[in-house]
């Protein structure tokens, strides 16, 4: 800003305008560039959020679309949810889905990131090929996995049978015992590239000398990993886990394509349940209530994430 003013000062003096006024006008003109974005944020994020919170307290159903009114019912939508015996199992599914996905995405992503730190030909090409699952539309990935997990003709069951690892085909998508495992497996596959890229970037930013010094001091590979790599990578790990959690909790496409939350809600999570309540049962009030629970969870982890970014950003700048 200082340089802008100094460059402009002669021109301003010549025009006889006070610098203060010009500065205000500059800020005002600059605001013109960001005003559309502010309006956009208000219309497309703030308004839906507020209206969703409000709908959670309303009896918003199919008749509301005709009458245009939805009576306020206090916490009735929430009590209806909590009284529903299925709700507990849906919350359990959500927790298992999220933790299962995160744990394995992270572990495999970190293992791959460590592997790709080694220097070998084609390293860069292979690493960018691994991004393909992240770029693919989730609907496509879900569809392929649904076909691969088919009971009779799916390649997974056929291969396992041929290798005599199982004697009976696994009813991946059609049994209430395995459907949740199936969608978690698919989601792990989807999430590995994201974890790989961010953790690899984090590893590359660690100073090499520390590892060399530790190696000279006689630390073995495992000690270097647990005592140096993990502690130094902590801010990046926090970022990747909280972001992963925020993305995983709102996962929708994979579950809808692979199992649609079934059979018998065995792979239903809060996100797919909110969709079912609103768009299949047309209970928009209850759907919004589930959405509000998701917002609460997102707020908690967004706060953790923002703190983690601030901490790690301080190191970098």
């Amino acid at each position: 800003m200082a340089s802008v003013l100094s460059v402009k000062a002669p021109a301003a003096a010549a025009a006889g305008a006070a610098p203060g006024r010009r500065r205000r006008r500059t800020a005002w003109r600059a605001a013109g560039f960001v005003v559309p974005a502010w309006i956009y944020v208000l219309c497309f994020y703030v308004y839906p959020l507020v209206s969703n919170v409000k709908m959670g307290f309303q009896n918003y159903s199919i008749s509301s679309f005709y009458t245009g009114s939805a009576p306020f019912v206090g916490f009735a939508n929430y009590t209806a949810l909590f009284r529903d015996p299925q709700f507990v199992s849906i919350v359990t599914n959500t927790v298992l889905f999220t933790l299962g996905s995160l744990a394995f995405q992270f572990a495999l992503g970190l293992a791959l990131a460590l592997f790709f730190r080694r220097v070998f030909p084609l390293n860069g090409v292979l690493r960018s090929l691994l991004l393909v699952p992240w770029l693919l539309p989730l609907v496509v990935s879900g569809t392929v996995w649904r076909w691969m997990m088919d009971y009779d003709s799916g390649v997974i069951n056929q291969t396992l049978l041929h290798l005599h690892l199982i004697s009976q085909p696994i009813p991946w998508l059609v049994s209430t015992n395995t459907s949740l495992v199936a969608v978690i497996l698919v989601n792990i596959w989807v999430g590995i590239p994201f974890n790989l890229v961010i953790l690899y970037g984090g590893l590359q930013s660690l100073p090499e000398q520390v590892f060399e010094a530790a190696a000279i001091d006689g630390a073995n590979a495992w000690q270097r990993f647990t005592r140096i790599t993990l502690p130094m990578l902590r801010p990046v790990i926090l970022v990747v886990l909280t972001l992963g959690l925020i993305y995983t909790i709102k996962a929708f496409d994979i579950i809808m394509l692979v199992t649609q939350g079934g059979p018998a809600n065995s792979s239903q999570t809060l996100t797919t349940y909110a969709y079912n309540l609103s768009f299949n049962q047309l209970l928009f009030g209850q759907g919004a209530a589930v959405g509000n629970i998701l917002i609460l969870v997102a707020i908690v982890f967004a706060a953790i994430y923002l703190r983690a970014v601030r901490d790690s950003g301080g190191d970098r700048r």
Binding site: M1, S3, V4, V7, A11, A27, A30, F33, V34, P36, A37, W38, Y40, V41, F44, Y45, Y47, P48, L49, S51, F120, L122, N123, S128, L130, L131, V132, L135, L136, P137, V139, V140, T143, V144, W145, W147, M148, S153, V155, Q158, V197, I198, G201, V239, I249, K250, F252, D253, L257, T271, S278, F279, F284, A288, G291, F301, A302, V309, R310, G313
Partner: protein
């Protein structure tokens, strides 16, 4: 990130001969890397393989590892049954790119170079906006679109899909423009160009690569969207290809070759993106996590 990749590439090609053990280790690394990639990308190969299969191969009890009796029947049925969906997806995705860039590019410039008031608050709002569960937005969008008569309208879908892209595009453009020297805009200002003119004829051309990247990602986000597509379209002929696939497998579980052929075609934009903007993809994934 790109410099990191370049460094890695240089140090790998620049390894001098004469250390056979090191070279053997490097070769082993490449082999292991190839195996990892093959395992991770197997589902894609399997999609391609199945898209060429005949119906009898699809239901056989032994896997058909290679499409030796390949047929294009699957692809022919795609263009008859999914052609309309692909057109809708294309229109909606292009519309999303336009809306996103119109909102994001000026905002990024205003924040990065003009020090617009409230820029920190706006950056923060966009960062948080990315975390709002899509189902929450879909709930409200449906009710608004319904009252405005916009269900099944590509306009509603473009606006809804843009919520996936605007924060990302703004953040990526903002971080690029911060690296553009101030003198560029100042020189234009001295020459008497207005701010708008400076933005359009000086800044945007300089930021071309970042604009292209933001546009490509916006296209991809809209192209891949399923949640807004499935909630904001009720008539089949107005649905994008993601919903087309979803309803198709709901209705005909056995026609896997057509489903997979549709999947292959729906993956083309992603493949193109990886080829055209490979360098930026890693940056794109990382930027969400590291930008404040």
């Amino acid at each position: 990130m790109s410099t990191v990749i370049r460094q890695a590439a240089m140090s790998s090609t620049g390894s001098r001969p004469g250390r056979p053990s090191k070279r053997a280790r490097a070769a082993l690394g490449t082999c292991a890397g190839i195996v990892i990639v093959l395992v991770m990308l197997f589902p894609l190969y399997w999609m391609l393989d199945a898209s060429f299969m005949r119906p009898q191969d699809l239901v056989s009890l032994t896997p058909t590892w290679f499409p030796v009796h390949g047929t294009l029947a699957g692809y022919r049925s795609v263009f008859s049954s999914q052609g309309g969906h692909l057109v809708v997806s294309l229109v909606v995705s292009l519309g999303t790119v336009v809306v996103t860039l119109v909102i994001a590019a000026p905002a990024a410039y205003g924040m990065a170079k003009l020090r617009a008031p409230g820029r920190r608050a706006l950056l923060f709002a966009l960062l948080v906006a990315q975390m709002i569960p899509g189902i929450v937005l879909a709930n409200s969008f449906y009710i608004v679109a319904n009252s405005l008569g916009l269900i099944n309208s590509p306009v509603a879908l473009v606006l809804a899909d843009s919520t996936l892209a605007v924060p990302f595009a703004t953040l990526i453009l903002h971080s690029f423009l911060r690296g553009v020297p101030d003198e560029l805009g100042e020189a234009a200002a001295i020459d008497g160009a207005s701010r708008l003119r400076t933005f359009v004829s000086v800044i945007l051309p300089v930021a071309r690569n970042a604009v292209i990247t933001a546009g490509l990602f916006s296209f991809l986000f809209a192209w891949a969207d399923f949640l807004f597509a499935v909630t904001l379209t009720s008539q089949d002929n107005h649905a994008p290809v993601t919903v087309g696939i979803y309803r198709f497998i709901g209705a005909n579980v056995t026609q896997w070759s057509s489903v997979m052929a549709t999947g292959v075609i729906a993956s083309i934009p992603a493949a193109l993106l990886l080829v055209i903007a490979q360098r930026y993809v890693a940056v794109g994934i990382g930027s969400a996590a590291t930008k404040d």
